[in-house]
Point group: C2
Chain length 168, copies 2
């Protein structure tokens, strides 16, 4: 019901404040993304709205922008048929299925845009909620980078590369 | 002997023409990197000299700049202790050990800069010379991305993620 009333749509300039609030929160936490926790608003928005990147927001009538995601080619040239995506949900809106709703929307958008596969380059092994969600949505761990992430509490932990075909 | 007489040093603005010549050649070939074959000089040099990227050239007294490489953190924040690197050798200078000399220089530089590991995100499976070199230098294939690269002659081929610790 919550998710059904939520609207996922392309992000616009009017969403920049809301996106920065979520981005800043996620970067400052520092346990799910390899981002500079002190990244500037300018750099963050330049990354999230980069050339060739599709930017979306999840908007709920009651709480406003609750999440945002990006979809883009993971590589250029001969690698441009594989999509990459990144998802962020506001801390105050977690556990409500917003991540899953955005992920399903993202897979649909990626197919619509003609991508043949989707890859996550950097899924931190301690982020078990994300790994469960991606596996549930058909992604597989295709590689593991030993001790590639320095977790703020847990020290050096492994990172997974996850992948799924979009041809089936 | 050839390699011994070669100098590997940081790239400067004076090297931009030579770097672009090599970059353009490698991008246009389109079989070893996932780069736009029509990438502009401006975008190519912005990438090769990006903020936070260390740029080097291999200079031979007889043939000039024969190769170039970059060394940088593979990720920001909690992932910044893992290095990433990219190597390009001029077509006219291949088979002379320039790639290996740059790779050994790169590993040494990465240790000097305090990186704990090095990762190659995108080693195309048909690039067997590169894979042999990286394995010889202690890298392992830690992941394989199925059909992630569209080779100009061979169609969709796998891509490897390669990794090595720098702590030993």
């Amino acid at each position: 019901m919550f998710v059904a009333s939520m609207k996922i749509r392309p992000g616009t300039d009017a969403d920049r404040d809301a996106i920065w609030n979520i981005f800043h929160e996620v970067a400052a936490d520092g346990d799910t993304y390899a981002l500079d926790p002190n990244i500037s608003r300018e750099d963050a928005l330049a990354y999230w709205f980069a050339r060739g990147t599709h930017t979306y927001v999840a908007e709920h009538p009651a709480i406003g922008i609750a999440g945002t995601y990006i979809l883009r080619p993971n590589q250029s040239g001969g690698g441009a048929h594989v999509a990459n995506a990144g998802f962020m949900v506001s801390a105050s809106a977690r556990g409500l299925g917003i991540g899953r709703a955005m992920a399903e929307h993202c897979l649909s958008e990626a197919r619509r845009l003609g991508f043949r596969a989707m890859q996550f380059n950097y899924v931190i092994s301690t982020n078990t909620a994300a790994i469960r969600l991606w596996e549930d949505l058909g992604f597989e761990i295709v590689g593991t980078l030993p001790s590639a992430f320095r977790h703020p509490d847990k020290g050096y932990v492994d990172v997974h590369v996850m992948y799924r075909s979009l041809l089936d």
